[in-house]
């Protein structure tokens, strides 16, 4: 049965990809990319990677799709007919693909427990992490503790990407207080989607509650800082889409977001420095408390918080920068 699910999901993925290659309407391509992400997240669930499925759905079907759509608004929705011949790319792709397939023939069979990939460190993570770190979700303990350096690097990459985006695109400054009454008056006159606004308003607190649940329940179930950060960002994206950029900017000013993005990285790095001051290695949480296991607990909760804050504020801020380009005069329009 699991085999059948797996095969049909892979089949649907291939169909989606073929459609993406053939279509010329970029809007349709981006919508299909959303489907592609949802499907691959479903495959991750079928392959037991629940944490990864969480992240992929959030990032691929959520954030990436929204950012691509925002880009399409400024760049136009049709792909021009290419003057280039498609023969050479096809040849290169076929040769590369054939070489890769040839390479898989030497790979060990899929799913065999004796495969070399499942031994060495993986055994240790599975057998000892519940005792050493004391939390049931092995992915979180590997992510936050055993491979804490790596994760710190990733958080810094995300932060750097925000710097890049902000140096390329400006976020609009919201209108001053003097203009605000007029704007509100305008909005009352032409409320674009009252039903959506009500639904969004009802959902906002629950989304944020859910994000907090994912953030702090990440030790016990699928979830953690990365996923919770994206969910926070999704809440504000929904608000921006239904109420307009100006209201969202009034709610979360860009200066605060920038400070939070840097602050998250600081919390993460600071935990490492504190553990050094207490006599351990960098990011060695054992020394944070008299009992190593509760030290690990404290360390993981703190650094996951840092990750969550950084990811959320980076994504919200990047989204605002994109919206500034995509919907420049939404304040007047309502």
């Amino acid at each position: 049965m699991e085999l059948l699910v797996n095969i049909s999901l892979l089949f649907m993925l291939s169909l989606t990809v073929i459609a993406v290659v053939r279509l010329k309407s970029l809007f349709a391509i981006v919508m299909l990319f959303g489907i592609y992400s949802l499907l691959s997240a479903m495959i991750f669930i079928a392959l037991d990677a629940v944490d990864v499925a969480f992240t992929e759905a959030a990032v691929g079907a959520g954030i990436s799709t929204v950012l691509m759509l925002a880009t399409l608004v400024t760049t136009g929705r049709w792909e021009k007919k290419s003057s280039r011949s498609s023969f050479l790319p096809l040849l290169i792709v076929s040769i590369t693909g054939a070489a890769l397939v040839w390479g898989t023939l030497d790979m060990p069979e899929y799913g065999n427990p004796d495969n070399p990939a499942h031994h060495h460190v993986a055994d240790r993570y599975i057998e000892q992490s519940p005792e050493e770190i004391g939390i049931p979700n092995m992915v979180t303990s590997v992510l936050a503790s055993y491979r804490g350096f790596d994760t710190l690097g990733e958080v810094i990459v995300v932060f750097t990407a925000l710097i890049g985006v902000l140096s390329l695109l400006q976020v609009r400054t919201p209108p001053s207080v003097a203009e605000t009454p007029l704007r509100n008056e305008n909005r009352k006159l032409s409320r674009p989607y009252p039903v959506l606004q009500v639904v969004a308003l009802v959902m906002m607190p629950f989304i944020i509650l859910f994000a907090l649940y994912v953030q702090f329940h990440g030790d016990f179930g699928p979830g953690g800082g990365f996923q919770a950060g994206v969910i926070f960002a999704v809440a504000f994206i929904l608000y921006t889409l239904t109420y307009g950029l100006d209201d969202a900017l009034a709610l979360t000013p860009v200066s605060v977001l920038k400070a939070l993005a840097a602050g998250g990285v600081l919390i993460y790095g600071g935990t490492g420095v504190v553990s050094m001051l207490l006599g351990g290695n960098f990011l060695d949480y054992n020394v944070l408390s008299s009992n190593p296991v509760s030290g690990q607990h404290i360390g993981i909760i703190v650094i996951e918080l840092g990750v969550g804050i950084t990811v959320a504020s980076v994504l919200i801020c990047a989204f605002y920068a994109f919206m500034t380009r995509a919907l420049p005069d939404q304040g007047q329009k309502g």
Partner: protein, 90 residues
């Protein structure tokens, strides 16, 4: 019983996928994506019961959410594009 439900959901997803490919209008595609997302949520729920570990329903909650936000974003940007033309989407 869960196996039957899983197969039925996969068939429904395939049918929605066909509509997403064929268009013809962009709104048809968005509708198909919306339906596809709903069925994915149900598939996650049923698959959890099928494998005997139905505790990952958090994912289902989140998929429902992300699907909604995706559809709203698509509509919002379409509205802005002012590019609705009678051309068939191919």
């Amino acid at each position: 019983m869960f196996a039957t439900a899983t197969i039925a959901l996969l068939v429904i997803m395939c049918l929605a996928l066909v509509r997403a490919f064929r268009g013809p209008k962009i709104f048809d595609r968005i509708l198909a994506v919306n339906m596809f997302g709903t069925k994915t949520v149900l598939l996650i729920a049923v698959y959890g019961f099928l494998t005997g570990r139905p505790e990952f329903l958090d994912l289902g909650i989140f998929y429902a959410l992300i699907n909604f936000v995706g559809v709203i974003a698509a509509l919002k940007f379409i509205e802005r594009l002012e590019f609705y033309d009678e051309r068939e989407e191919r």
